[in-house]
Symmetry: C2
Subunit: 179 residues, 2 copies
């Protein structure tokens, strides 16, 4: 699919058909994820591919009952290796770079999902400690997103955006652009 079409079509899909997603597709999606840039090419992303129903149920509960997590055939839990980033970049690595690097990987994943005519949703609201416990994460591995993936059941709702003029400035803050 053409790049700008993928960008336009990506949206949050929370209803999935009762149909599994082939491992080969998951691999294509993850391979797009790891092509994201990262500070110092540290690649602090770690991915847990969750297909086990019991674990999906627990994740949905840890995410305040967001039921589409347990309904999706597969979830990718994206984690940040805080130690990998902080050992080179200190506190800025831990609190900024490894969050940004994993977010860039997540965005690649969401776009790849769209390009493959699958649907996904970026879930950020969950109890981190519960997810850590469910997935047996070491202390340096922080869960930063849960991404349920499946075949979309219906056309999802596309959220609107502020016009560009509202969020852009020329040269210094507050100086409007003419577009």
């Amino acid at each position: 699919m053409e790049f700008f079409e993928v960008v336009e079509r990506r949206c949050s899909v929370r209803d999935y058909e009762d149909k599994g997603v082939n491992d080969e597709l998951i691999k294509i999606i993850l391979n797009a994820g790891i092509k994201a840039p990262s500070a110092g090419n540290i690649q602090p992303w770690r991915f847990i591919i969750v297909k086990n129903q019991e674990i999906k149920n627990k994740l949905a509960k840890a995410a305040y009952g967001q039921s589409f997590i347990r309904e999706a055939p597969v979830n990718i839990v994206v984690c940040a290796d805080e130690f990998a980033s902080s050992s080179r970049y200190g506190e800025r690595g831990r609190t900024l770079y490894c969050i940004q690097d994993t977010a860039a990987a997540i965005e690649n994943i969401l776009l790849a999902v769209t390009a493959l005519n699958l649907g996904a949703c970026w879930v950020g609201a969950f109890k981190e400690n519960e997810v850590r416990y469910i997935l047996d994460l070491p202390s340096n591995i922080r869960p930063v997103a849960i991404i349920p993936i499946g075949y979309p059941k219906k056309t999802a709702y596309r959220t609107s955006r502020y016009p560009l003029q509202k969020v852009t400035y020329l040269d210094i803050y507050g100086n409007p652009l003419s577009w």
Copy 2:
């Protein structure tokens, strides 16, 4: 350009031809940026388009002398409106969601740059307070990246990636996938 080709081709470009980038292209790039998802669709991204040479010089200095910032015809300084995110989501909004949301927008920007045969680089290393001062940012607006953009002078070096097996697990951390 086809989506997966864009993902493969994206890399950090730090050498630019002495040639301006048309405003229409900048607009296409930013329009891709704002199509990124954000927590609660808050859209906490703010963009300062820097073309002024004196300001570019100052930004390069604030970024520890990374000279390609002043050499690029245009820089997009991406900022996060911490107040926008924290007013709905508290500390998790300020320290996680608005960093993730802006990083997703940045990744869309970098991919759009690539799709248009331009080149860019994600600069994360800079003195935030200096950038705040240079761009006259209010206290709630945090600069999170500087993105110099231009026509690539030469083929850039593509960094390698760890194989997927090294960063993926099945169902719980530590449980290897068979791929």
